[in-house]
């Protein structure tokens, strides 16, 4: 039995990720289209458009990775699912979720250290003027979100998503 708050929390996180990632994809598409169209039609271009689009893509990509966790959409070997007996498989799935959570937590830790270094050095993107750590901060955030999700999936089996199927 899982507390409804946990289910709701996971839904809210996934909803927020979907919203931000979807808007980022939209922004990326608008910027790049505007750049090409302005160049071809008005003879002017937006020199920062591709770099800024890349920032949006990194944001969308990272949140997409976390969303894939919410939908059991990650590409993974499925040999074990087919050869292991169901009873053992339950234990294996627990270990899978736990291992994923531990390593995501570890990656969040080293990514945070990197972002801290980047902030200390004051690195800037020369074209957009955006401090790099602002863009890079999505990496530890994503890993931390995934670590949280997978620890919940490990501890509360009813929250585990069912594989979407088509990809």
């Amino acid at each position: 039995m899982t507390h409804p708050v946990i289910h709701r929390g996971l839904q809210v996180i996934a909803g927020a990720e979907r919203l931000i990632a979807g808007l980022s994809v939209g922004a990326m598409a608008v910027l790049l289209c505007a750049d090409v169209i302005l160049r071809e039609v008005a003879g002017m271009s937006l020199p920062w458009a591709q770099k800024l689009s890349l920032h949006f893509m990194i944001l969308a990509g990272c949140l997409g990775v976390s969303l894939a966790s919410s939908a059991a959409g990650h590409l993974r070997p499925e040999v074990g699912d087919q050869i292991l007996p169901k009873r053992i498989l339950q234990g294996i799935v627990f270990l899978r979720e736990l291992t994923t959570a531990v390593f995501c937590g570890y990656f969040a830790h080293i990514a945070l250290a990197y972002v801290q270094q980047s902030k200390d050095f004051g690195d800037l993107n020369v074209i957009t003027g955006v401090p790099l750590w602002v863009v890079q901060a999505i990496f530890p955030a994503t890993f931390a979100l995934m670590a949280t999700k997978h620890i919940v999936f490990a501890l509360f089996p009813s929250t585990r998503p069912v594989r979407a199927g088509v990809h």
């Binding site: 979807g22 994809v25 499925e78 040999v79 799935v93 994923t100």
Partner: protein
């Protein structure tokens, strides 16, 4: 316990437990950094950030988005109508139309499952209703859907070009003739297998109406491929233009695409991107390690001692990639094999673009080979057919694709003529 043993044990556990591929790649990257005696593990994050900060990567989500938009809208339907009108008088004309529709849609979409869903969901009921056996229809559509990644634009080609350091426009241009060859072989298969089916009659009027209502759908591939081929757009810009034209045509002219459907296409895109994003970034980091450690060069030297001829290498590579296609999804296979095999191919005098096309065709066939042939699962789910029946149904068309693979492998001009004409 040595680091190598720890890595092997972890990979074995990961394989059995089904750990996400990005995590396996990430742990391998961490262990490789440790092997180098690099205490600053945050360098991995630097690697993945710089791997993500490449403009060419923008083309991947944009082509996914363009495909998703066109799947939700009316472009696929109009392409099917044109193809059906054009091929009506041929033996098994509707079957040929199915392949032609997939070919046309593949010139807009960069993904095989998307092509299969977009065309198949409309073509399958039409084929069955016209009297074609469900098995034939499923096999033909699942096979023709694979054309999505060989006919440019192609997301796996973008990934190959990143991993093998080959211009993506060369890959796109190189894929045109092999893609048309494979499409032709599948059309021949359809005509031979469905020769008993009653032929339709050519109707100039229907063709003109189909062309008039679907003309804009044909404009999309012309703009994308024409722009890339003429050097007018880069691959990334072509992807942006694909999204723009898809939106203008769907929202401004066909008006079957709704705003919620556009939003769904955008959120689906993020999830599809998320499935490959970290795998790609960690693979680039791992690739850097391989280059620093001169692993590809070592493999080239070892392999040259065993395989002395170019033909032997090509046969071996095809067998390896066909086997890999059975057990790995296409992205993972490209990320793992492209950095290792491309230097070997160059050593044997094979152009990296030609080699990339060989790799894509091999892995395209992998979409149809169990246990992880994605098109088999998509076709089984979309057409509500048992998986075993789908597998059996794809065997004959797959033979045609294998014949095409042999031609692509041993006839380099097929992949390189247009590239050299550029």
């Amino acid at each position: 316990m040595s680091l190598g043993l720890a890595l092997a044990a972890f990979l074995l556990f990961g394989l059995i437990a089904g750990l996400p591929l990005f995590l396996l790649m990430g742990v391998v990257a961490v262990l490789c950094y440790s092997l180098q005696g690099n205490a600053e593990l945050s360098g991995i994050v630097e690697d993945i950030y710089f791997a993500a900060d490449k403009e060419i990567l923008l083309a991947i989500p944009l082509f996914i988005l363009a495909g998703n938009l066109m799947t939700q809208g009316a472009i696929a339907k109009r392409l099917i109508r044109i193809a059906s009108a054009l091929t009506a008088p041929l033996p098994a004309g509707l079957g040929v139309a199915a392949v032609l529709s997939c070919t046309l849609f593949a010139a807009i979409s960069g993904s095989s499952p998307v092509t299969l869903i977009a065309i198949g969901t409309m073509m399958y009921p039409a084929l069955v209703q016209a009297g074609y056996k469900p098995g034939f229809a499923v096999g033909l559509l699942a096979s023709a859907g694979t054309l999505g990644i060989i006919i440019p634009p192609s997301i796996p080609m973008i990934v190959y070009s990143i991993m093998a350091n080959v211009p993506v426009t060369d890959m796109f241009i190189g894929g045109v003739l092999p893609g048309l060859l494979l499409a032709s072989l599948l059309m021949i298969y359809a005509m031979i297998h469905g020769r008993g089916m009653p032929r339709g009659r050519w109707s100039g009027e229907e063709f003109l109406v189909a062309l008039k209502t679907g003309f804009l759908s044909l404009v999309v591939p012309v703009i994308i491929l024409g722009g890339i081929y003429s050097g007018f757009f880069t691959a990334t810009e072509a992807a942006a233009i694909a999204v723009f034209t898809a939106l203008v045509i769907e929202l401004g002219f066909y008006r079957e695409l709704t705003v919620p459907a556009v939003w769904k296409a955008m959120t689906d895109t993020t999830q599809m991107l998320g499935m490959i994003f970290f795998i790609l970034l960690f693979a680039v980091s791992f690739n850097k390690f391989l280059i620093i450690e001169q692993v590809p060069q070592g493999l080239v030297e070892d392999l040259s001692a065993v395989i002395t001829s170019k033909t032997g290498f090509l046969v071996g590579v095809n067998l390896l990639l066909l086997a890999a296609g059975c057990f790995m999804d296409i992205m993972s296979a490209i990320l793992v094999f492209a950095p290792l095999l491309t230097p070997m191919a160059v050593h044997y005098g094979i152009d990296p673009v030609h080699f990339g096309i060989i790799m894509i065709v091999n892995l395209e066939i992998g979409y149809l080979t169990p246990p992880v042939g994605i098109n088999l699962f998509v076709a089984s789910a979309a057409f509500k057919q048992p998986l075993g029946d789908v597998i059996r149904a794809t065997l004959r068309p797959m033979l045609m694709l294998l014949a095409g693979l042999a031609l692509v492998t041993f006839w380099p001009a097929l992949s390189l003529t247009l590239v050299h004409l550029k």
